[in-house]
């Protein structure tokens, strides 16, 4: 039976945990919002973006989704604000601002 991560937390009795602490599923980390960590936030200046996609592979957190060859908005639930994308963008289409707000 596939694991429902929403049913597992620090109040779950031992019988509610999965066998051998295995997870019968994948990508369940999406439920954990690492976006709460950041102290800097990237701002996407869409009109400057030339869709070169140099930012997409450098994100350690897979927070620049790409669909049909175009980058989409930042995944603010998970972005940790490391600033690598802003640094690599050749067109100044990403600016880092202070704070956690998008």
């Amino acid at each position: 039976m596939r694991t429902d991560v929403s049913k597992i937390n620090e109040t779950t009795p031992h019988t509610g945990l999965t066998e051998g602490l295995m997870i019968f599923g994948a990508g369940t980390s999406k439920e954990f919002k690492t976006g709460e960590w950041r102290t800097n936030t990237p701002v996407f200046l869409e009109d400057k973006c030339k869709q070169c996609l140099l930012c997409a592979p450098v994100c350690p957190d897979s927070c620049i989704p790409v669909t049909d060859g175009k980058r989409e908005k930042f995944d603010m639930d998970h972005c940790k604000g490391c600033g690598i994308c802003a640094k690599v963008c050749p067109f100044g289409a990403i600016e880092m601002k202070e704070g956690i707000e998008a």
Binding site: T15, L17, E19, G20, L21, I23, A26
Partner: protein, 393 residues
Amino acid sequence: MSIKERMSGNEAVSYAIRQINPDVMPAFPITPSTEIPQMVSTFAANGQVDTEFIPVESEHSAMSAAIGAEAAGARTMTATSSVGLALMWEELLLAASNRLPLALALVNRTLSGPININCDHSDGMGARDTGWIQIYAENNQEAYDNFIQAFPIAENPSVHLPIMICQDGFITSHAVENIELLEDEPVKKFVGEYNPEEFLLNPGKPIAVGPYSVSNYAMEAKKNQEDAMENAKEVILEVAKKFYKMSGRKYGLFEEYRTKDADYIMLIMGSAAGTAKEAVDELREKGMKAGVLKLRVFRPFPEKEIAEALKNCKAAAIMDRCESYNGNGGPLGSEVTAGLYRNKVIIETVNYIYGLAGRDFTVDHAKQIFDELAGLVEEGKEVMQHQYIGLRK
């Protein structure tokens, strides 16, 4: 239809492996278990098994690869002894915590130092808290029969724990004895196919194995593992019942040899039980009511049943083929007496350490022990609680 043959314990276990035809066997040689991987790789070389034999570069890697293969959905086993088992220690714990029903043929050999290739139980005993089911054999027949029951026990959904089938190094593994083998088809049917619900190689249904866990979850996971070990006792008995139907040979948690009315009982595990039974027969001729409780299942430890079996005797000799170095005795010495106490059975017990590193245990030694027990009970003689038999003093 049974096949009457004569072979060594290693040959018998290898024969069982051929019949079981496991999917993967990673192994590293170590005396006296080496023959098992050799025989299996010969079977594979001649197309007699489908087993993928992996000649790994160490025992730690043998258990690591076994964990990988079993988690991937393949029925997996390996074989080792002594320090090979010791080297795997970290991995034994993981096989159990990951709830993988893999099997290990343990050919008991003493742990080092000094390095010595002969039999004692320090290897299996050293792993007694790793969460593995442990079943011991008196002879090649039992080693063979136990191995055939191994996967049905381990793979039971209420268990899902790894299992060690133990036999005494050189004494059982290499000595040639008579044996009754089962035919291939019935064994194949008995063991069945391994079809796990969840496994790494399940197309479209990925799983993740081996997490880091904060303290919020670890204690609960360990409790679940313990529950599985407790479930194993019933499952072992169920599988033994089914095995009896197929083979006509009965197995339980232990064998009670002439213990019903016994005043003095020797509790012992492994090949030396045969020696003890010989001594009991001779003593019975002379009028002493002696008996042997031959322990088969060491993990899970059948404390209640042992207490029940010993409760009517006057004194029991608890035989340990290994030291615990706890200052008071061996592992069986501790666990049996704790069991007696918890079940309110108060009898005299003496813990004897015997047979270390292949030291011979003779019928005379056994008779000496029974005489000592009689001396304690009937004449009030002082007997040391924790002593060595067969030691040059």
